[in-house]
Amino acid sequence: MSDFIYILAGLVKLIILIFFKQVNTLDDLQFQPFSIMELLNKNTVDPLFLYPLSLINIFELGYFLILAWLLVGVINETNGERPVKFGKSLQLVTTSYGSGLLLWVVLVMFITLNLN
């Protein structure tokens, strides 16, 4: 269910591309709305950091929060005797999904560095 936020991210990107952004080159398509990268000048940032900075965005943050929120319901449904709170669920998401994401980012940086 929480994956739907990425569809929303895609829709927002599509709307921005259609109505608010002029696309001249393929490079113009490579942006992530509401990310830290959008606050910086792309030309001054090392290509190595483009992906990590694009990944820090509102939708990714929303995914963490929604996943943790939905997980509270699932855990409490199966384990009613020891209900968990949102904070504990968020901690679980951060250690599992967060560490996987971190490993993925490092892998992408490694590939970027060796292919460039």
């Binding site: 090392d46 190595l48 560490s99 971190l102 490993l103 490092v106 892998l107 940086m109 490694f110 560095l113 060796n114 460039n116």
Partner: protein, 178 residues
């Protein structure tokens, strides 16, 4: 038993993550170091076709220096050499140095003949038999172009296939930038 497997999986992931992180930091530092090194023409020698060593500083200091890193078997390099050959007159005011890591002399000679590079007086083809170019210039992709002004400071560099117009424009700027 479950805890044992969990520990092994965490250890494997940590080792992979640690290795990748180390490689990224190391590679980034090397890249930055190389970027710093090439700001001024590095003191580096390659072999000429005849086998004698030629230093990049040996060329006429009154002309801008264009270093093209290429490989005869690379399709993009063929296009670039063709562009240079066709626009030879536009490069008259600079010194062209073509550096290749290819170890086949025959292939390099054929390449130069095919694109009439021998006919250019201001073009020198050098062999990087010990792969020193990439050590000094960083992970230069093939083809790469480095343009130095007459004071041997880097004006600009292009990674990948580059149109001759872009190179000519950059060399024209060298006269105003130093």
């Amino acid at each position: 038993m479950r805890k044992y497997y969990k520990g092994i999986i965490i250890a494997i992931i940590s080792v992979i993550g640690g290795f990748l992180t180390y490689q990224v930091i190391e590679g980034y530092n090397e890249k930055k170091e190389a970027e710093k090194n090439v700001q001024v023409l590095p003191d580096i020698s390659f072999n000429s076709i005849s086998g004698s060593p030629v230093n990049l500083h040996d060329f006429d200091q009154t002309l801008p220096l264009i270093i093209v890193y290429f490989h005869p078997e690379c399709e993009h390099c063929r296009y670039e050499a063709q562009e240079i050959g066709q626009n030879a007159d536009a490069f008259n005011h600079c010194q062209l140095v073509m550096v290749t890591p290819d170890d086949s002399l025959q292939r390099v000679e054929n390449f130069c003949s095919d694109y009439h590079l021998w006919e250019l007086d201001n073009c020198e083809v050098l062999l990087d038999t010990k792969n020193r170019f990439q050590k000094v210039f960083g992970k230069a992709i093939i083809p790469s172009v480095y343009i130095y002004a007459t004071n041997r400071k880097l004006i600009t560099h292009f990674l990948g296939e580059t149109k001759s117009e872009a190179i000519i424009n950059a060399t024209n700027n060298t006269f105003t930038k130093h």
